[in-house]
Point group: C2
Chain length 294, copies 2
C-alpha cells in the first residue's frame, strides 16, 4: 500500500462528502455558510475521519456506513479549532496556513460558525446507519460525550487554566487525553461501531485510539518547538510564548520523542486482535503520525 496515495484518495472522498452535507456557500445566511466552509475546507489533513474509515475497514465494515460519522467528527474538530482560535481563548491569527475565521469574518460570525459546525455534526450523525450492536442512541451518545464538558471541552478549559502555571505530568496528561485523545479515540470507535464490531474488537480499537491520541498530541507539542510556522501552517512556538502546558516543557524534548514512540508502540500492540492484513492501514497511519513533520 502506498500511504500517500491512500491519504489523498481518502481526503478527496471525505471532502466530497463534507461538501455534500454542508449548505452551499450562497445559501442564506451566506456569511455564515461561507464562514463554515472557509474553516472546514482550509486544507485540513482529515486525519480523524481517515482514522474512522480505516477502523471501519479493520473491522471489515463498509466505508459508506462510516462516512457520515467520519464527517461529523471532522465538523466537531473544525468547530473546536474555530472557537479555540478566538481572541478570548488562544487568540490565534493563523491556522492551516490561512488567517483564522474571526480574522476573515468577524468574531461574532466566528462564534456562530463554530456553533453551526457543532450543530451540523449532529445532523450528520442522524444520517448514519444504526447497526445491530450499536443503535442511533449509542452512536449519538458516543459523539456527544467525546465532544462534551468532560472530554473535549474539559481539555480546552484545563489547557486555558494551565497557562502560565507550572503543571505536573498528571495534569498535562488530563489535558491531552481530553483536548486531543477523546475525539481521536471516538473517531476509531465510531468506525468500529459502523462496522458492527464485536466487543473484543471495539475494546482493541478503543485502546489503539487512546494511545494514538496521546501520541498525536505529544508529537504536536514537539513540532511546535522544532518546526517553523510556515511548515506547520499555524503560529509555531506559540505554546512556549503562551506558557502552555506541553510535554517538551514538562519532560524535555528528547524524553517527549521517546514517549511518543512508546505510545505509538502500545497502539500497535493494541491491534493484535486483528489480522495483520485487516489492521494494515491502522498500523501504517500510526507510523505516519509518529514520523510526520507538520
Amino acid at each position: 500500500m502506498n500511504l500517500k496515495t491512500y491519504l489523498v484518495s481518502r481526503q478527496k472522498l471525505i471532502d466530497r462528502a463534507l461538501d455534500w452535507y454542508l449548505p452551499k456557500a450562497n445559501r442564506k445566511p451566506a456569511t455564515l455558510h461561507r464562514a463554515m466552509r472557509y474553516s472546514l475546507f482550509a486544507g485540513g489533513k482529515r486525519l480523524r475521519p481517515i482514522l474512522c474509515l480505516a477502523a471501519a475497514e479493520a473491522c471489515r465494515g463498509k466505508i459508506d456506513n462510516a462516512l457520515p460519522l467520519a464527517c461529523a467528527i471532522e465538523c466537531i474538530h473544525t468547530y473546536s479549532l474555530v472557537h479555540d482560535d478566538l481572541p478570548s481563548m488562544d487568540n490565534d491569527d493563523f491556522r492551516r496556513g490561512r488567517p483564522t475565521c474571526h480574522k476573515v469574518f468577524d468574531e461574532g460570525i466566528a462564534v456562530l460558525a463554530g456553533d453551526a459546525l457543532l450543530t451540523i455534526a449532529f445532523e450528520i450523525v442522524s444520517r448514519a446507519k444504526p447497526r445491530p450492536r450499536y443503535d442511533m442512541s449509542t452512536l449519538l451518545r458516543e459523539v456527544a460525550v467525546a465532544a462534551g464538558s468532560q472530554r473535549l471541552i474539559a481539555g480546552q478549559v484545563a489547557d486555558l487554566e494551565a497557562e502560565g502555571k507550572k503543571v505536573k505530568r498528571r495534569e498535562l496528561q488530563f489535558i491531552h487525553e481530553n483536548k486531543t485523545a477523546a475525539i481521536l479515540q471516538s473517531s476509531v470507535r465510531l468506525g468500529a461501531m459502523s462496522a458492527n464490531a464485536d466487543a473484543r474488537k471495539l475494546a482493541a480499537t478503543t485502546q489503539f485510539g487512546q494511545h494514538l491520541g496521546l501520541a498525536f498530541q505529544v508529537i504536536d507539542d514537539v513540532l511546535d518547538v522544532t518546526q517553523t510556522s510556515e511548515r506547520l501552517g499555524k503560529s509555531a512556538g506559540k505554546d512556549v510564548a503562551a506558557k502552555k502546558a506541553t510535554y517538551p516543557a514538562v519532560m524535555g524534548l528528547q524524553e517527549s520523542r521517546v514517549e511518543a514512540r512508546r505510545l505509538t508502540s502500545k497502539g500497535h500492540k493494541a491491534l493484535s486482535v486483528f489480522s495483520n492484513r485487516d489492521a494494515e492501514t491502522l498500523h501504517a497511519l500510526a507510523n505516519y503520525l509518529l514520523e510526520r513533520e507538520y
Copy 2:
C-alpha cells in the same frame, strides 16, 4: 386548571430533570460546570420545555417520554442566550436579572459553557425513547435542524446583520421565524413526537408552534419598548439603542399588539383537531404568553 400552579409545578419538574442531567458543579473542570449551571439555573421561565410537555399531553403521551426532549431544548435555548450575550454579539451585561455568564466568568469560559450546553443537549436527546413513528434519527434531526445554520443560527446572523439598517417586514419575519419561532415550534413538535402523534396531530402542533413562536417574539419586541429593565430582568430599550429590527420599529407599537393577537388567534385555530379537553393547556399557555408582562 390554575395556570400559575401548573407552571410552577412544571418548572420544578423540569429543573429537577435538568439538575439530574447536568454534571455536578464540583465536577472537573468545575469552572465550566459552574458556568453551565449558572446560566441554566438563572430563573428562566422554562416556557419551551413546558410547551413541549403540554404538546405531549395534548397528544395523550406520557410526560416521562417528553422530558428528555424538553430538557434538551432548554439547554439549546440557554446556550443561544449565553452566546448571543457575548461582547462580540449583543454585548449584554444582564440576563434574567443577573450579570451575564461572560461577566461572572470570563469570555472564554462563556464561549465554552455555551458550547457545552449545546453539546449536552444532544447527549440528553440520546436518552429519549424512540417511538414507533419517530425513531432516534428523526428526533435527533428535528433538534439539529431547528438549532442549525438555517434556523436558530440563521436568525441570529440575520439579526446581527440587520442592526442599524432599515428592515422590511419580510426580512423581519425571517429573523423572528428563525431566531425564536424555530425552537419554539420544535418544542411542541418534539412533544407531539414523544407521544407518537399521528401525522394530522403533528401537523396541527407544527402550525400552532409556528404562530405561537412568531407571536412570542412580537410580544418580546413590544415588552422591550414598554417595560422596565427591572421587570424584564434584562436590559430594556436595548433593541432601540442597538437599532435592532423589531416589530414596533417596523409597524408601530399598536399594530404590533394587534399582530400578536392575530397570531395567537391563529394558534388557537390550529388546535381544532384536538378535543378542547386535550388541548386545554396549550390554549391556556398561548393566552398566557400573549398577556405576559415580562
